[in-house]
Symmetry: C2
Subunit: 445 residues, 2 copies
Amino acid sequence: MKGSIHTIKPLVPHGNETALTFARHAGKVVRIQGAIHRTRALGGVTFVIVRDREDLIQAVLNRADTKVNEGDLNEGNQVIIEGTVHEDKRAPNGAEVRIKTLTVVGRVKEEAPVVLSHPTLDVHLETNLSYRPVTLRHPTERAIFRLQAAIAQHFRVFLGSQGFTEIFTPKIVAAGAEGGANIFSLPYFKQKAYLTQSPQLYKQMMVGVFERVFEVGHVYRAEQHNTSRHLNEYISLDFEMGFIDSMEDMMGVEVAYLKSLMEVLKKEHSRELELLSAKLPVVSEIPAVKLHEGIALIREHFSYKSPSEHDLDQKGEQFLCEYAQREYGSEFIFVTHYPRPKRPFYAMDDPENPALTLSFDLLLRGLEVTTGGQRIHDYAAQVKKMKEWKLNPKNFEHYLMAHRNGLPPHGGLAIGLERLVTRLLGLPNVRQGTLFPRDIDRLTP
Amino acid sequence: MKGSIHTIKPLVPHGNETALTFARHAGKVVRIQGAIHRTRALGGVTFVIVRDREDLIQAVLNRADTKVNEGDLNEGNQVIIEGTVHEDKRAPNGAEVRIKTLTVVGRVKEEAPVVLSHPTLDVHLETNLSYRPVTLRHPTERAIFRLQAAIAQHFRVFLGSQGFTEIFTPKIVAAGAEGGANIFSLPYFKQKAYLTQSPQLYKQMMVGVFERVFEVGHVYRAEQHNTSRHLNEYISLDFEMGFIDSMEDMMGVEVAYLKSLMEVLKKEHSRELELLSAKLPVVSEIPAVKLHEGIALIREHFSYKSPSEHDLDQKGEQFLCEYAQREYGSEFIFVTHYPRPKRPFYAMDDPENPALTLSFDLLLRGLEVTTGGQRIHDYAAQVKKMKEWKLNPKNFEHYLMAHRNGLPPHGGLAIGLERLVTRLLGLPNVRQGTLFPRDIDRLTP
């Protein structure tokens, strides 16, 4: 007995002709699929603008030839159209489809809560986020997240080409990497567990395994306040590398990634950048300034006195970026050598000034988008610093196992994906770079 | 004042000569970096086998020429070696390095808890997992996770080439996608939140945005039992696609991915496959059988009576795979049309038999590695099924917003990355495919 058993062949799904490719097939019949973006009747003809997964397509319905039913052309309906391609320079993407058949395969049941067919989605952030399943359908919103996907994937591809291995580390952990109060906890069977603030300790253990590792994953911060710069759940682009000469190795790899990223985005995503009127920063070399010198600089050049001698506030970060732009033509600037109390227990102290650490931030257009540094690789030195920090080395048994069994000099960094995306695109709020953001009030959608 | 400001250039880090490439430089001086894997003294010469990030390198130390200190050659020390490359067919990777200088940059502080220099890591799973920061350094363990990284990355690259967009959706959610008791909960400020069991509801919302989406991310199941097949935190390879003709579209895309994956692994990772003595399955077409016919088949061919007429147990899955291998030469088999109560509220019922759903599992070598199916895309139909399932549509406001605003016919699937890895490599326990597994007892390392 074989009943209805049959075999499944490898499939290339329908829809290989999209807005970006169908114009190549002038004179031929194509199938296009997408949502009705808007319609306009003109005499006996109706222009049906279809939003497919790539872009907009102009389809033309001659009501004398093709019959449609009441409601078939409602905006938002999901349709499959078969028709002939005609070149037309005035149409989006240089061609239009003269409709032979139009089939509605998904029907709209309400008027959309926002207007998707205007060139910009002109709503408040609050509305945008509350109606995410609809607002994300707007072409400019889609462009943000196409770019986000490209940025994350280029991080993987670029680091892969430099000998880094991708890792997946646990997000449910027994202790936080950063410490402090901003950590989510949860019951884990008979134990208490936490949501990881960073893959830091695991990345370092993995330097002993693969020398160079990266991870693209969720991290969690139980921030008690709502700001335009913070999320409670975000995507961290992390890497860690061994056999470094100094922390400038990590900074150099980041410059190389960013330079290569800008080239890829310009080459492969000019359409999205144009839709968003985004102007990417120029990356060739990136200036680096020591924190205390940066603070002195902005006092000298902008008469701005930093509220702390040991940290930059938002205004300070903005002035420093302004300075980098003016003096070095760079919208990025590294700030280095943060004081010891500002950096975690695994940060390596500066041998030239033990009050400081071998650490850096990268600022872009007034916002910190990266934190990194060199880590302690020697077992005894790490245990000593833990004790100075009143931490019990017994609670870091597995972490220290890596040190005891030999770790090379190493360091790494973490880029906040949503911060990088929104800064690159000139969007003011980090939530705009998050499909479904989590903040102190927002657990849905 | 410019102080010590300087600019950071794009950097290609040290270590471009690895075990896989240094042999090309016969006669030249190279720098290699890695851990001392083992040493063997022979007359005035010591063979120092270095484990770099790729593989093993034979380095030769002539004690008359190069001085080393007591302890420098301890196994596990992290070293930088400069020396001249000499071809030698007997050495791993066809060449050896005659050492000019050897610098220890990271020192071992204890005897390793396991022996890394034997060809296999011959320890119990419990030991392997408890000493993960060390055991993962063994070449065969590294091979598993190189392959894991390749499988995940090829999922992204393959789907990207088919018009899918990568998405990042929240893991802290207001309600579970699968329902049931096996869900972790946590306090989220003034609300109660959960860790997602699946990106299902978000994937479906995103079909309305990008038509084809995928996500590689962590998911959580509060399984109360320890088995060789379950993890409490795992990586799910998810995709979802619109404008399908039937659920066989998703099955066809999965066959195409797997076929292409086997080619990539054979071509780019033969070294790792050899180290693990792994024999990959052959994928051309994959047979599909309806569940109730599968149950009848194994009764007929293996005299095995399934304990349930509505599901396969582990033994049933093994027999069915045996049958597929024998009759179709396939180690994979799809099982389709699971009964309604076995599938979640969003599963589309089979119009030919409403007691069944348009759903499938994919089995490989006796284990389910994928679950998928067609989903309900019509708003009224989804609300109706929710009510039949005693679910309150009000609790799915945003999810149903996507349906009300038009969704095309769609479906998707989820592959358990650790299950796929361990089955492909013939490893008996899913924990072996996890860097740092989480189970009911295991929250560290």
